[in-house]
């Protein structure tokens, strides 16, 4: 009987884990997650016309690999999405990328304590605020920064202890790193704390 209970528990745990890695697909392109605003812990975009998707490997509410922090000394908010596949769902590890935003000011504090009017549009000018694309080269990340475009926060609810932030984005990098277009981006992450 104990063995049966243990096996049921194990199966339930495995099913729970796999469920947390699934995503609701975009009806226009099912390779990308659809835009949601409930804390799906997923993001997606076209990177140079190739679909990029990240869905957190999550245990409970905790999403591994995404970061959102504020640096007092630089007065910048940094939002880093988890690593995700470029291309089809069968991409190898070498075809991975991350997207990061550096935004001027304390974004989350301003939004949580602000009037709560959404969407909030943040212009990425390429210097004070900008987007980055990271490409995995097999041993380290090649980082291209200075992305110019838009970053939208369309939903933010909760407080500093527990909140959901969701929105859309798109930017273009055209510098010594080459020309990279990150388009039709969407994100929806749940956080249990803000540093």
């Amino acid at each position: 009987m104990r063995t049966t209970f243990f096996l049921c528990f194990l199966v339930g745990l495995l099913q729970g884990c796999s469920y947390m890695e699934s995503y609701n697909s975009d009806p226009l392109d099912p390779r990308l997650p659809e835009y949601t605003a409930f804390g799906a812990n997923a993001a997606g975009a076209y990177v140079d016309d190739t679909p990029w998707r990240t869905v957190c490997t999550a245990f409970g509410d905790e999403c591994i690999g995404r970061e959102l922090s504020y640096n007092d000394s630089t007065n910048k908010t940094v939002f880093l999405f988890p690593s995700g596949n470029l291309g089809s769902g069968n991409s190898t590890f070498e075809r991975r990328a991350r997207i990061r935003f550096v935004i001027d000011g304390n974004l989350i504090e301003d939004l949580i304590q602000g009037p709560g009017l959404f969407p909030v549009r943040i212009a990425l000018d390429g210097t004070e605020s900008y987007g980055e694309i990271w490409f995995w080269n097999g041993s380290d990340w090649d980082i291209c920064n200075g992305g110019v475009g838009e970053f939208y926060v369309r939903e933010l609810f909760g407080d500093f202890d527990r909140f959901v932030v969701a929105g859309t984005f798109g930017f273009v990098i055209d510098n010594s790193c080459g020309l990279h277009r990150i388009e039709s981006g969407r994100y929806d992450f749940r956080f249990n704390e803000f540093f």
């Binding site: 609701n24 009806p27 838009e150």
Partner: protein, 211 residues
Amino acid sequence: MSNLFLPFRRFLLGFVFVLLFALSGNCQKMELFVDAGMSASLFQVEHIDNVSSGLASFTLRGGVYFDVFNSEKLRLVVEGMLFNRKYNFEIPGEEFKYRFFTAQVPILINYQATEWIYLEAGISGALYDARLVTNNPDAQIGSGFTHYDLGVLAGVQIALGERFLVGTRANIHFMPMLTFDEIGPFGELNRGEKDLYYRSVELFLRYRFKF
């Protein structure tokens, strides 16, 4: 588990509606039928690339037929049918098949043109359930698919003896099957965009179970 029975529940509701309609109208005859045929499903698509459309597929469907009103040449007919609408989203290396389990109720005026030839035209209501079949184990069907449709249809049927009919029909449905928020290149959002309108042309052989 309840989602599994949702389309059946909807069909039963539609079926009860048809039954009440037929009984209230002094239904003169009821038949069960099975159709086997080729159907070309045409999805009018504006926003979605890589959607296969116009593919002919074999369709097997069953239903019930009520002869509500019957004069010498004209009849009012109500049918109830179950079948699948389907289209594929084609990307090399990945397979996304959208399947819409559909319960359709056409209400038709049937005109007997000659001894064996019947012309028909009418309106059609449909309820359906959207499912995604894919080799991507992580992808779940997203939101935005609606679950009902309205349209018109017209066709010709030729009687082949007492129990067989061969027929052809064209269906045009008007309701968008998908409502979605379109995300532009720089994250701008166009809310409530509509797409996927269903058309079909079919050729079928019908077998009638007479009571």
